[in-house]
């Protein structure tokens, strides 16, 4: 447990060190800024519609993937790049413990940054429409998306030094493009898990609820299923990461 906590502490500073957290925090401010300026003249009901139409997709399809890509791919990737992986591996610590601690640190850092963006966007909506109805669903959606994305990008960061480039292609081509254009593929989209959690937790009495799926496309499997799927993806990635650390040569770049 002591090793786990230490790895989390050091990794958290590592993945959001330097100017990274500033740049990512500025990105995370995009949804509340969009919400603020796009709802200046709207009625409360129209503001909720606008929230679902612009700030929410910005948050879940842009902010969460990019923040988790940068932070997640650095969790193990930075150790490889900086040559510190050997420092970590020549220790009496299980590989699964190392990977799960790394993932926990990356998740906490990414969730804090993306969660701030989501919370502020909901806060702006509360100012406009006097309702906090989107607050919990938004944060849950951020947590679900962050968990799954971070786990996948952590493995990608360990496997290649071009994780950010490959991740960006994945996010923009697959997540924001193909998975929306082909509803049959929606079930294998991580961003859809977050959206599913959001819709699953949003009260049906919320204005514009019925139009949500028209705007956001196919949203399976609901909040519970999304959480379960994200947990499953995370677990699989921890196992893959531990396997890779155990079997692959620990070479620095």
């Amino acid at each position: 447990m002591r090793a786990f906590v230490s790895i989390v502490r050091v990794t958290t500073r590592q993945v959001v060190g330097g100017r990274r957290w500033i740049v990512l925090s500025l990105l995370a401010l995009l949804p509340p800024v969009v919400m603020w300026f796009s709802s200046l003249t709207l009625t409360p009901s129209a503001s909720i519609d606008r929230y679902n139409d612009a700030p929410l997709p910005t948050l879940l399809l842009l902010v969460v993937p990019i923040v988790t890509l940068v932070v997640g791919s650095g969790a193990l990737g930075d150790e490889r790049r900086d040559g510190t992986l050997s420092f970590l591996l020549v220790r009496p610590v299980r590989r699964a413990t190392i990977v799960s601690a790394k993932l926990a640190a990356a998740f906490l850092a990414a969730a804090a940054i993306a969660g701030m963006g989501g919370a502020l966007a909901s806060f702006v909506l509360a100012l406009r429409a006097d309702t906090w109805v989107t607050f919990a669903p938004t944060l849950t959606a951020v947590l679900v998306g962050t968990a799954a994305y971070t786990a996948v990008f952590m493995i990608l960061g360990h496997l290649t030094s071009r994780a950010v480039l490959i991740g960006l292609v994945y996010v923009f081509v697959w997540e924001s493009g193909i998975s929306f254009a082909a509803p049959a593929l929606a079930n294998v989209s991580i961003s859809r898990l977050g959206l599913s959690a959001y819709v699953g937790l949003l009260p049906e009495s919320t204005p514009g609820f019925g139009a949500l799926t028209e705007v956001l496309g196919v949203l399976e499997p609901g909040a519970g299923g999304a959480v379960a799927k994200a947990a499953g993806i995370t677990l699989v990635c921890v196992l893959i990461g531990a396997f890779l650390l155990q079997r692959l040569d620990a070479t620095s770049e």
């Binding site: 090793a3 900086d82 510190t84 009496p92």
Partner: protein, 312 residues
């Protein structure tokens, strides 16, 4: 049955017929050696395969062939052995955002040992004054010492150091060498790699020499020295009358060959001090102007290559 000088009794680290290749490149080829308590030097020119061998011993690389055992177990299969082993890698494996104290504490936490030894480890490497500064601002030598402190804090039975003296100044170097020798005297297994023969001579009682990924020589430092004693020295001599000097040198029993290229002589001799005395004297006696007298091929790499050729 003959016993190879590369193998010791009571070994804590055993390397058996180990090879490692990366694609088409063979980094280590069929090396068998072992290390026991005391200070052993792993000597070889840059790119000889020392780091690859040490990383296989530490379980960071999978041998392509052969096996490694540390304290009786394969480190890749039983991570508990790392409680008793520490590595100081060659690369800059430090976390720049941490202070030296936090870095050493991190090593203690990961190895499951008390943080009580952190201050002591920092003092041993003479970093107490800089302990609370971020490592990012450290010089190369200070980073090296921080890495050594992070290894010492776990009080390992086996300490593996890959070029630990790189970047250190002469005073720090002497201090670290003394530290390694003291740890070895405590009965620990200390393996130090270096490409500097003089450095290893100062530290190690026993040397394993590697060239081109192969074992070139092994044994006590004196035995290695002895093995090198009959290497012909190659000397370049520039004079204004090379024929006169060459005519004299070929009468010397220790000179094995003389070749002439313009005003330059390339001389091979088994007795360098004798040649060093003879050439200036002859030049003076015969009125020849001597402008250059320098070894042409005295690099450690050439010494090692000689050892490899001799083994074949």
């Amino acid at each position: 049955m003959t016993t190879s000088p590369a193998v010791v009794t009571g070994a804590t680290v055993e390397v058996r017929e180990v090879s490692k290749w990366f694609g088409q490149k063979v980094a280590v080829s069929d090396v068998t050696c072992s290390f026991g308590p005391g200070l052993s030097g792993l000597l070889g020119p840059n790119g000889a395969g020392k780091t690859t061998l040490l990383r296989m011993i530490c379980g960071l690389l999978n041998p392509s062939d052969g096996s490694v055992s540390v304290l009786g177990v394969d480190p890749r299969r039983d991570h508990r052995v790392y409680r008793r082993v520490a590595l100081v890698p060659e690369e800059d494996a430090v976390y720049g955002h941490l202070t030296a104290r936090a870095f050493v504490s991190y090593a203690a936490d990961l190895s499951g040992v008390s943080r009580k030894g952190v201050d002591k480890a920092i003092r041993v490497v003479d970093l107490a004054d800089a302990a609370d500064r971020a490592i990012a601002g450290f010089s190369k030598g200070m980073r090296q010492r921080a890495k050594v402190a992070a290894a010492l804090v776990t009080e390992p039975e086996i300490l593996i150091l890959d070029e630990p003296l790189n970047g250190t100044d002469p005073v720090q170097r002497a201090h670290l060498i003394e530290t390694f020798r003291r740890l070895a005297a405590d009965g620990r297994t200390i393996i130090v790699s270096s490409h500097v023969l003089a450095e290893v001579e100062r530290m190690a009682d026993r040397v394993i020499a590697i060239v081109d990924g192969r074992l070139a020589a092994a044994g006590g430092v004196h035995a290695i020295r002895q093995a090198m004693a009959d290497i012909p020295y190659r000397i370049r001599i520039d004079v204004d009358d090379p024929r006169t000097i060459a005519a004299d040198l070929i009468t010397s029993a220790s000179v094995t060959s003389v070749t002439m290229a313009g005003s330059t002589l390339h001389v091979e001799t088994s007795d360098l001090p004798d040649l060093g005395r003879r050439v200036p004297q002859v030049a003076k006696d015969l009125g020849v102007r001597l402008t250059t007298f320098e070894p042409e091929d005295e690099s450690l790499e050439s010494v090692f290559r000689y050892l490899v050729r001799r083994r074949k």
